[in-house]
């Protein structure tokens, strides 16, 4: 924590030759670009170098949403829980009281996982447009802004896991080693979330009314994912449709691993991973190819 250790080169009182460190100083060259990508290696290095900013922003946002207190944490868990119960009631009414075995655990487990996705995408889509002051004043990899929103969402997701464990035990579901499959599935969901977040964050710069449209898209995404229904209920010849929704194979695998306690079907794991990578690469490249233009667009 000592000044002398961290910034000796910048101390004007230092006795060394001021130009001696010329070669060690960082050099930045700014050149024109077409709508193209900056050198990806340099970009990723820069991104990694500033990761502390994304962590700090994610943490700060979480704290300002009043989730720093125990009382605030309660809401973090309560709101997806209550939403899940509302849907449980709705599905029970529609089905006239018939429901598959372990449906409550499946519904709540998948709602929590879905919240990890949707809670990131909505704030992320506003992150660039809302970060105008910082973007106009500081040069930094802009993708840190949507990625910080993903970080906030992940921090909100973590405390729902113990609640899920309680629900599993309470509904008589076994918790065994298969639960560990949940970890790679969460990683898949995070890849998808990061890609979709960056895509919408960049798109919002060009279409400011995207925010009006996004809630409906997210609602559709909720209904077309196997949350209120089970993948097994889809007729055999229509099973391929499940793969059209990037989130669907991930949630199907999640439901198997965590709420049913069985090893997830490999096809779902692989399908989810493929979608996750495609989303991250496509969303990330779209964002990065556009981000140098943001300063004049805001």
């Amino acid at each position: 924590m000592s000044t002398d250790v961290t910034t000796p080169a910048h101390d004007p009182a230092a006795t060394h030759d001021p130009w001696a460190d010329a070669l060690e100083r960082e050099v930045n060259v700014y050149e024109p670009h077409k709508v193209g990508l900056p050198p990806i290696g340099d970009y990723l290095r820069e991104l990694w170098g500033r990761r502390e900013f994304a962590f700090e922003l994610a943490r700060t946002r979480l704290r300002t949403q009043n989730y720093g207190t125990v009382f605030g944490m309660t809401w973090l868990v309560l709101s997806p829980l209550m939403l899940g119960l509302v849907y449980f009631l709705l599905v029970s009414i529609i089905r006239g009281g018939h429901r598959p075995e372990g449906f409550l655990a499946h519904l709540l487990g998948c709602i929590f996982a879905y919240y990890l996705f949707s809670d990131a995408v909505r704030p992320a889509s506003r992150s660039v447009v809302g970060g105008g002051r910082l973007i106009n004043n500081t040069a930094f990899p802009r993708s840190l802004l949507p990625l910080a929103a993903v970080g906030t969402s992940f921090m909100r997701f973590l405390p729902t896991l113990p609640v899920l464990a309680v629900i599993l035990v309470a509904t008589g579901r076994p918790i065994d080693a298969n639960v560990l499959w949940g970890i790679p599935i969460i990683v898949e969901i995070l890849l998808l979330t990061a890609g979709v977040s960056m895509f919408f964050a960049a798109l919002q710069v060009y279409f400011r009314d995207l925010g009006n449209f996004l809630p409906y898209l997210m609602r559709m995404w909720l209904y077309t994912s196997p949350i209120l229904w089970l993948v097994d209920q889809v007729p055999e010849q229509h099973q391929w449709l499940v793969y059209l929704n990037p989130l669907a194979p991930m949630l199907a695998a999640w439901s198997d691993a965590v709420t049913a306690g069985t090893a997830p079907h490999p096809a779902w794991l692989i399908g989810g991973l493929a979608w996750g990578i495609v989303a991250l690469v496509a969303g990330g490249l779209f964002f990065i190819s556009r981000e140098r233009e943001f300063a004049v667009r805001l």
Partner: protein
Amino acid sequence: MATPAPDVPKAIKVEHVSITYQTALQGKQTLVGTLSRLRRRRKIVKEIRAVRDVSFEVPRGSVLGIIGHNGAGKSTLVRAMAGILPPTEGRIEVHGRVSTLLALGVGFDRKLTGRQNVVLGGLASGLSRAELADKYDEIVAFAELEEFMDLPMRTYSSGMQSRLAFAVAVTMAPDILLIDEALSTGDARFKRKSFNKMRELCSADRTIVIVSHAMKSMRELCDEVIWLHKGQIKMYGPPQKVIKAYSKFFSIDVDEDPAEEDVVSEEDV
């Protein structure tokens, strides 16, 4: 202050830089707006050539002033040197870590506290947590905002905001400091204090680029001055000469209102 010897390494090289950007004539672009425009086949973007073929070099340790009236491209040029706007043509080379004090000031989220904004802004501009922890008390002391740092920035007056911005920029001890229209901030006492700090930085081995309308301070602080007019360099040389020509130019330019601007700039600092 003498012009540095030619063998001094350059801190900033600007080579044939032009910056052109498009802005929407409509305030905001929207999906609905775009769709309705597609039907009418009308384009509503305006091309702005903010900077046109500008070249200059800033030797390390010298102070460059940029003057020119509103809309001359000064801020755009400074943002390009900070790496915020990419040039449309040409090349900019910057040696060293840059700290910016631009017109918009510190802090990007007024809902967050002063402390959170300082930490986040510092991390975004590439400082480490250790550096920030070291400098934090110094920043707060210079800005004289001890009892306000844990309040949201929306509760700050504009003077307090610019004091904090100034304190962050000068305390971070960058190799290169870019300052846009921020010489005269706060009340009279803080103005004096910030001017003294500027003079201290300028006489140290710092490379500084200042954009300002405060001619008196520019004359005192700068080694060289660029006069930017409609995106082009109209004059480049020692401060006395350029500022004299600039003032003269405005007194014969009937379209502008130079008298008023001059009075303001003479009183600033």
